[in-house]
């Protein structure tokens, strides 16, 4: 394969691959099983390696998780865009979304990635496809970070895709209309993934109104309103949070003056692992570390010692959306690391709560339970 730095490894066999994508991964040496997985999606005319500039690999080394980089093929799509407007590709089966889930399952099978700590992020078309993955597979992703993206199913062909980028009043929808599109993607009664949104106020490619529409869509899915519960200013960005119970269900970073790009740079909260590159803009705020924090990846200790054996099977969830494969952390070699033992225990408990959640109706009580699990 071409275009890839030595740090990424190609994985050539990962299922039937109905969307005809390529798969690359970054797995820190000695990563034990039971660790999280982050899926990173590139934009049009980019490759997987272009997204390495975001610094996810460095965070993976530091905090202990695997990184999956799907890549579009030019034979599949001339400009290498993930097809976020293609009805088959954004459906749960039969296209690119299913290919990416097959990659996730392969990571779970190969590296024992924690089935309940899988996250997704992306830029531009990759961001739009992040919304696709969260909508089509709410049972598989805990959270996502959408960077200069668009609402799920805003478009179902190339013409409407162009309209969505500008997001004029005629393209906008009510929260319920947007939410219905997500709910129509998969019959799911469990808690939906938490969503973080990044948008430059001077993005003339993806109009900032898209961020507003994304907030409408995902707050509605979470059953909460569109009134901000918290707002603060961080460097060049305004952060707005929307709560469901005590959980930050949706979080929007609006970056003043930024164009169509991923925000990087020295962050008041700490170092940024990102490096300069096309479509990475120094805004003195680090979207990579903030996405990682939103995912909960930076809360605990690193991966700890020991390699352990794979603990996940990667099997598909049951038709009702529950996942019968609940390894509860089995197979990990904690090798005398009490901190890691505690993490495994908490992780196992979290899985049980999730299983309880999926058979309960979508209520405030469920949201509160989810919040408790996270904090």
């Amino acid at each position: 394969m071409m275009f890839l730095a030595a740090t990424l490894a190609a994985v050539t066999s990962f299922g039937s691959n109905p969307g005809a994508l390529d798969m690359y991964e970054y797995v820190p040496a000695g990563l034990p099983s039971g660790r999280p997985l982050v899926v990173v999606l590139h934009g049009c005319t980019q490759t997987a390696s272009a997204m390495e500039s975001a610094g996810w690999n460095a965070l993976a080394d530091q905090y202990g998780f695997a990184v999956l980089y799907p890549q579009q093929r030019s034979a599949n799509q001339a400009l290498s865009c993930f097809t976020w407007y293609g009805p088959t590709d954004i459906a749960r089966t039969g296209g690119e979304a299913e290919s990416i889930i097959q990659m996730v399952d392969t990571e779970i099978a190969s590296h024992g990635s924690d089935t309940h700590r899988v996250y997704v992020t992306g830029l531009s078309a990759g961001a739009a496809f992040t919304a696709v993955m969260l909508a089509a597979y709410p049972d598989r992703f805990e959270a996502g970070s959408i960077m200069a993206g668009l609402p799920y199913k805003c478009a179902t062909d190339l013409t409407s895709a162009s309209s969505c980028q500008q997001m004029s009043a005629s393209t906008q929808k009510t929260p319920q209309q947007w939410g219905d599109l997500v709910r129509g993607a998969f019959a799911w009664n469990g808690a939906y993934p938490r969503v973080q949104i990044w948008q430059g106020t001077s993005d003339y490619t993806v109009a900032p109104a898209n961020a507003t529409e994304l907030v409408k869509q995902w707050t509605d899915v979470w059953g909460t309103d569109q009134t901000a519960d918290a707002t603060d200013t961080i460097s060049t960005a305004t952060r707005t949070q929307y709560m469901a119970g005590s959980t930050v269900a949706v979080e929007l970073y609006s970056v003043m003056g930024m164009g169509h790009a991923i925000a990087i740079g020295a962050d008041p909260d700490g170092a940024c692992p990102a490096t300069s590159g096309a479509y990475f803009s120094d805004e003195k705020i680090c979207s990579t570390t903030r996405a990682a924090a939103f995912f909960g990846l930076t809360d605990g200790s690193g991966p700890g010692p020991g390699s352990g054996s794979g603990s996940g099977s990667g099997s598909d969830p049951a038709p009702d959306g529950s996942n019968p494969d609940s390894p509860d952390g089995g197979g990990c070699n904690t090798a005398g690391d009490p901190g890691f033992l505690a993490l495994v225990f908490v992780g196992g408990l979290a899985r049980r709560w999730r299983h309880a959640a999926v058979v309960r109706p979508r209520t405030r009580g469920l949201l509160a339970g989810r919040a408790e699990r996270r904090r």
């Binding site: 934009g43 049009c44 034979a75 865009c81 895709a161 162009s162 980028q165 490619t205």
Partner: protein
């Protein structure tokens, strides 16, 4: 299941497309005579890496102005305009190209191309906008070309 090869080709691909003539766009007609502009023989070439990153683009068009109605002042004579790639930016559906007009171009026109996939080829939604006039003498022509692999 999509049919696709297992690896990306290692070489760049050049796409080529032509359009005999654009729609005719009126301009003037208020304090100036009424004229029209038609772009003829539009010829576009775009080269991209296997990733879809655009590395080169040239466009040529013949500007043909005409009088609408009657006017004692003749329009500019037909002129060939050439454009070359200045920059390319990622969009969620492909790439937005900015092309620079050659110094000899008259009138001065800015050209942007919204590039998106079209089967095995490309769709180039072009916007030619005259920049050396304002108000009623400024015009914008928006032809769309389909480009196919040329190599």
């Amino acid at each position: 299941m999509k049919a696709a090869d297992a690896t990306m080709a290692s070489t760049s691909t050049t796409y080529h497309g032509t359009l005999d003539m654009s729609a005719t766009v009126p301009f003037g007609g208020v304090t100036y005579c009424a004229y029209s502009i038609t772009l003829r023989q539009i010829d576009a070439m775009i080269t991209m890496r296997p990733s879809g990153e655009v590395t080169g683009s040239t466009v040529q068009a013949l500007n043909v102005e005409a009088i609408v109605g009657s006017c004692p002042y003749q329009p500019q004579p037909p002129s060939i305009a050439n454009y070359t790639l200045d920059s390319a930016k990622v969009t969620p559906t492909g790439s937005m190209l900015q092309l620079a007009g050659a110094a000899a171009n008259s009138p001065k026109v800015a050209l942007t191309i919204d590039l998106s996939p079209n089967g095995s080829g490309l769709q180039a939604a072009m916007t030619f906008q005259r920049t050396d006039q304002t108000g009623e003498l400024m015009w914008t022509v928006k032809p769309t070309l389909l480009l196919a692999p040329a190599n």
